[in-house]
Amino acid sequence: MADHSHTTDRPPPAVRAEALESLLAERGLVKSEVLDGFINRFVNDVGPMNGAKVVAKAWTDDDYRAQLLADGTGAIKELGFAGPQGEHIVVVENSDDVHNVVVCTLCSCYPWPVLGLPPEWYKDPAYRSRMVREPRTLLSEMGLDLDDGVEVRVWDSSAENRYLVLPQRPDGTDGLAEDELAALVTRDAMVGVAKVSAG
């Protein structure tokens, strides 16, 4: 198989994308509106707001929490979230003693049904290279300082299992309803590079 070789005068990617789409469209292989629909789904319908609902339900419903930790895929599907990059979702729980954080060193595997598409920092070579080797230092640089006594578990998503971090429920949120709690839950906390704060 012929591999790509490096060329310095390639047309810019925006034009290459337009070129590819026009070639595929004139062969009847893609339709512009199908691409639009696909893109709109990931812009509007699939994102960390889905994962936040899962987390908030786990915080308020002990049975659901137990089910989520035992069968992440099934419990998440119950809330209507499933699809590509979500064949088998494992939920890992943070506590006072354990902090989980997720990375994909080989590409940028990410649990799309609950978090949407990965942010730039998750795809950054610095994140992919360093999170497995010096997680405490990198987390600290990203704004999360962990006590020495906390066990750091780094999950490298190297096969088709996808990992979602169940963050700790912050203090001072006892009276909040599930949807109010969901509004506090961030993408970064569900990857494990931040904690959830009470706002």
């Binding site: 047309p11 990617p13 925006a14 026009s22 893609v30 199908v34 497995v132 999950w155 490298d156």
Partner: protein
Amino acid sequence: MDGIHDMGGMQGWGSVAIAPDEPVFREHWHGRAFAMGAMSMGLSGTNLDAFRHGLERLHPYDYLADGYYGRWLACAETLLVDSGVLAPGAVEARARNLAGESVAEPEDVEENKPVYERGGAGSLREIDDPPAFSVGDRVRAKEIRTDGHTRMPGYVRGRTGTIHALRPAALLPDTNAHFEGENPQHVYTVEFDSTELWGPDAEASKLRIDLFESYLEAT
């Protein structure tokens, strides 16, 4: 293959900043590249593992310079050209014409989609053979060297860890990426201590990674 994509443990990349309010697609073409990249697997008659290997086959300069969605775009082109859906150079020529040049576009070529047996949708598979390892077993990641695709990162090669969990069986990317069969296997989450991976002065942490049964041997 030992490529630029295998980034675990590389040094010198500096720090990471979390951009506030990052849009899903920062540029219009990012969305187009994502959608066409996702569709390119079906259009080329290939699969997700061939797509990931296509990313790895990009020239390292291009891999870094193109960014995430640039890689998806280049990979879509790679798979479509490999399968003869598009002629080599077709995208480049069309892009030059769209940019105002006037260059000849190549003639279509004969389709050459891979012919191979598929075991169903997705990657998870049921297998009858019992798993070779149990939770708590000590295992070593084999010293596998391949020119092709693998999902075993270089940084665990030859290192010893402990089986943490048995996951659903899945087709083996190493052969599926090359249309050489699915070879479904048991998949294990293996835990490695940071000092086993990075030496006695490593920061205290545990690394948990999913590895296929054929990547592992008993110690």
